[in-house]
């Protein structure tokens, strides 16, 4: 290709850039179509890039430049001079007054630590580990759905599942609590239950309630394999067996899901017998 033709190629690419740039501005002002604008921008910048590459490759003579590095190390003399400069000044400052320097260091140190204290305000007013051990569930808390409607025992057949919260603790102002109070309520045939003896009374008519916060890393355990009676966490695939009281049967979780003891009241509503017997959610140092 002749030199003149190469120049024309560069000019054509740059013209494409100009046209697409103007068109882009027009598209922004009018339809603002995402794909069209993106295409124009791509051609505009791509054309510019291509033009520059062709310009450098084809229009400019190939030239290799060599530059001397020079030596980085300055040599012992300069090193000594630099160190001496510092040490001389230090000697003038300190002399024999090392004890004063120690006091100075003490002053800097304490001052440095002291000004960090306001950072404490970043932590909440009650940095309470007990925050982690309790939820809003209490003895007598009735189970409601996220919209506040009461759940009745006969709302659920075998294989049903619903996410429930303590009554009075739902709504936008309780959003943070709801994340930790979230409980999965399921019904299984009572004959299939294999609960530990102390928990037999926690599952009236085959209704069971488990914390929805996975004990591995805290994701909501939202998948319920109804016929298999297993809860499955989508984040890291921890699997919990409902029939044995939430035991972990697969996955990186080391503990089962805490079970919420519940009873069925005479009017058909369901209420908790107490808060969860153990902290919900992932493990942490202070947890036994």
């Amino acid at each position: 290709m002749s030199y003149a033709k190469k120049e024309l190629v560069v000019a054509a690419l740059l013209t494409a850039t100009i046209v697409c740039a103007v068109a882009f501005a027009y598209v922004y002002a009018t339809s603002a179509d995402t794909q069209l604008a993106a295409a124009l921008l791509t051609v505009a910048f791509g054309g510019l890039a291509a033009a520059l590459v062709v310009w450098e490759h084809e229009l400019m003579p190939r030239k290799v430049t060599i530059e001397d590095r020079g030596s980085l190390p300055s040599g012992a003399d300069k090193n000594d001079a630099a160190s001496d400069e510092f040490l001389r000044g230090a000697d003038e400052t300190v002399g024999r007054r090392w004890w004063l320097v120690r006091v100075f260091a003490g002053a800097l140190g304490t001052l440095g630590i002291a000004v960090l204290f306001p950072l404490r305000s970043l932590a909440p007013t009650f940095a309470n580990i007990s925050d982690l051990t309790h939820t809003s569930w209490r003895r007598g808390s009735r189970l409601v759905r996220a919209d506040g409607t009461l759940v009745r025992a006969d709302d659920l057949d075998v294989n049903s599942v619903v996410t429930v919260f303590p009554e009075g603790h739902v709504g936008p102002q309780y959003a943070n609590d709801m994340a930790n109070d979230a409980t999965v309520l399921v019904r299984v045939p009572a004959a299939e239950l294999h609960l530990p003896p102390e928990r037999v009374g926690w599952a009236p008519q085959g209704l069971l309630a488990f914390s929805k916060v996975c004990t591995h890393a805290g994701c909501p355990v939202g998948l319920y394999r109804a016929a298999a009676r297993q809860l499955f966490c989508p984040c890291h695939q921890s699997t919990f067996d409902v029939l044995t009281g939430g035991n972990r049967i697969f996955g990186p979780a080391a503990r089962g899901l805490p079970q919420l003891p519940i009873r069925i009241d005479p009017d058909g509503t369901i209420a908790a017998l107490s808060d969860y017997p153990e902290p919900i959610g992932p493990g942490y140092w202070e947890r036994a």
């Binding site: 922004y28 051609v43 910048f45 890039a49 530059e67 001397d68 909440p124 695939q237 036994a288």
Partner: protein, 462 residues
């Protein structure tokens, strides 16, 4: 005329002419792999520009508001204010979606380019003296980039990133002794808190970008002072740099790359949906959609969490939960190794000389093998992070895949590392004999008491 007037103007005030002359004449090697770092730099610049634009429209509060806008299925829904602002950017601002997607794609390209750039530095030994400090800065930049990306995609307050924040909180919690305190401190209390988005926002638009920009400036400043390394070649020596001068050729090539980066990000930003928060919906704390993955540069951590052992240590009434091993210990070991690598290699080779000529990757086959092993490990656990998607697509039990990945995470690095070592030795032998450079083996020959000779061999690079 203008140029001469400008130079005089500056020189009268700054005495800059000598510097300008030297600067314009500075030589950069021409090999294509030396431009990988520039991809990172230009991706970062695009991130700064698009990010600044987005920051004007973003609302960092997680207080609930009612979304009203053209996106019908969420119209009238109570969502966090941050979510509503990103919805408005996406659907009620001209080309807001394009800029938002360019920003997010920029982050993925930034992280990817850092990894590839790091690979070039590692496999060619460019981290050796005098460039160990720059390696340290580089690994720090990688960490900062991953953190910056995590903060960024967590800002909209959508369902997927909310799950990610929950997992990060649990991993922080899992640290022995100080975990709960740290988690309470950084996130502002028990999860979820009202201040998380606000804090991530400050980290994302101020603290981390400041750290990134400062370290990048230092990174470039050191390269300026020390000059680039270069590959061996006909004219290249340890005392010179062969390539193109900054002006005019390298400037033009660099501008071309900058323009190409913007073009590629525009292409991705307009034609490939990324982080469709309008599909995920707002964060609510008690639901999560399946499947759940983080951005790719964090996917290796998620994969490690999936395949990690379900092992909780109970010590004197305290617990070290399973999230600790995968989420804290393994990355700690990995990054300690990365940071310490120049020292480790110095201890192994005993080589404390200044190196301005790069190795070819096969020049140190054991280093090649180790690097390949680490990359393989990262890739395997990265793939493990999407094992549930693979289970759905290929009709394999996800439980089986988990065991397969556990197995592979140990075996694959070993196998591929050893293969790489073998290939390295082969290539080295072939290329060096072809170049007429033999790998010098120094032998010390001693006369022994029986009257014969003992030969002690020691391999040394040329």
């Amino acid at each position: 005329m203008i140029v001469r007037r400008g130079v005089k103007f500056l020189d009268d005030r700054l005495g800059s002419s000598a510097f300008i002359k030297a600067a314009l004449h500075k030589v950069f090697p021409d090999h294509w792999s030396f431009m990988l770092g520039e991809i990172c730099l230009y991706a970062f610049i695009v991130l700064l520009l698009t990010g600044s634009y987005l920051a004007f429209f973003f609302n960092d509060s997680s207080a609930p508001v009612v979304y009203h806008g053209p996106y019908a299925s969420l119209d009238g829904r109570s969502v966090p204010a941050s979510f509503a602002s990103v919805m408005n950017i996406s659907f009620s601002t001209h080309l807001g979606l394009l800029i938002r997607q360019m920003h997010h794609w920029g982050a993925l390209v930034f992280a990817g380019a850092i990894i590839f750039h790091m690979m070039r530095i590692f496999f060619t030994g460019a981290f050796r003296k005098p460039r160990e400090m720059n390696w340290t800065i580089g690994v720090t930049l990688l960490l900062l980039a991953m953190g910056e990306g995590f903060c960024g995609y967590s800002l909209p307050g959508d369902l997927l990133s909310g799950a990610g924040i929950r997992i990060a909180y649990s991993v922080a919690e899992s640290i022995p002794l100080v975990g709960t305190w740290l988690a309470f401190f950084f996130f502002g209390g028990k999860f979820p808190t009202d201040v998380t988005t606000q804090r991530l926002f400050i980290l994302h638009v101020w603290i981390l970008p400041l750290a990134l920009a400062g370290l990048i400036a230092l990174h470039l400043g050191m390269i300026w002072r020390q000059h680039h390394t270069q590959f061996r070649g006909p004219k290249a020596t340890e005392q010179n740099v062969v390539g193109s001068s900054l002006w005019p050729r390298y400037t033009i090539k660099s501008l071309a790359l900058f323009s190409a980066t913007i073009g590629v990000l525009a292409l991705l930003g307009g034609f490939f949906t990324i982080n469709p928060i309008y599909v995920y919906g707002p964060f609510d704390g008690w639901t999560v959609a399946s499947p759940a993955q983080p951005d790719w540069y964090v996917a290796w951590l998620d994969g490690a969490l999936r395949i990690g052992p379900a092992l909780a240590l109970h010590l004197w009434g305290h617990t070290v939960p399973p999230a600790f091993w995968s989420g804290i210990l393994m990355p700690l070991v990995l990054f300690t190794g990365l940071f310490a690598w120049p020292e480790i290699e110095r201890a192994i080779t005993g080589d404390n000389r200044e190196h301005n000529l790069d190795d070819m990757p096969y020049d140190k086959p054991w280093r090649l093998g180790l690097g390949v092993a680490v990359l393989t490990f990262g890739t395997v656990i990265g793939f493990a992070g999407s094992d549930d998607i693979q289970a759905k697509l290929f009709h394999i039990d996800v439980e089986v895949l988990m065991y397969v990945y556990r197995f592979l995470s140990v075996l694959a690095p070993l196998i591929f590392g050893l293969i790489a070592v073998g290939i390295g030795y082969e290539l080295r032998a072939r290329f060096e004999s072809a170049a007429g450079r033999e790998h010098i083996r120094r032998a010390t020959i001693r006369r022994n008491t029986q009257g014969g000779y003992d030969e002690e061999r020691k391999a040394e690079p040329t």
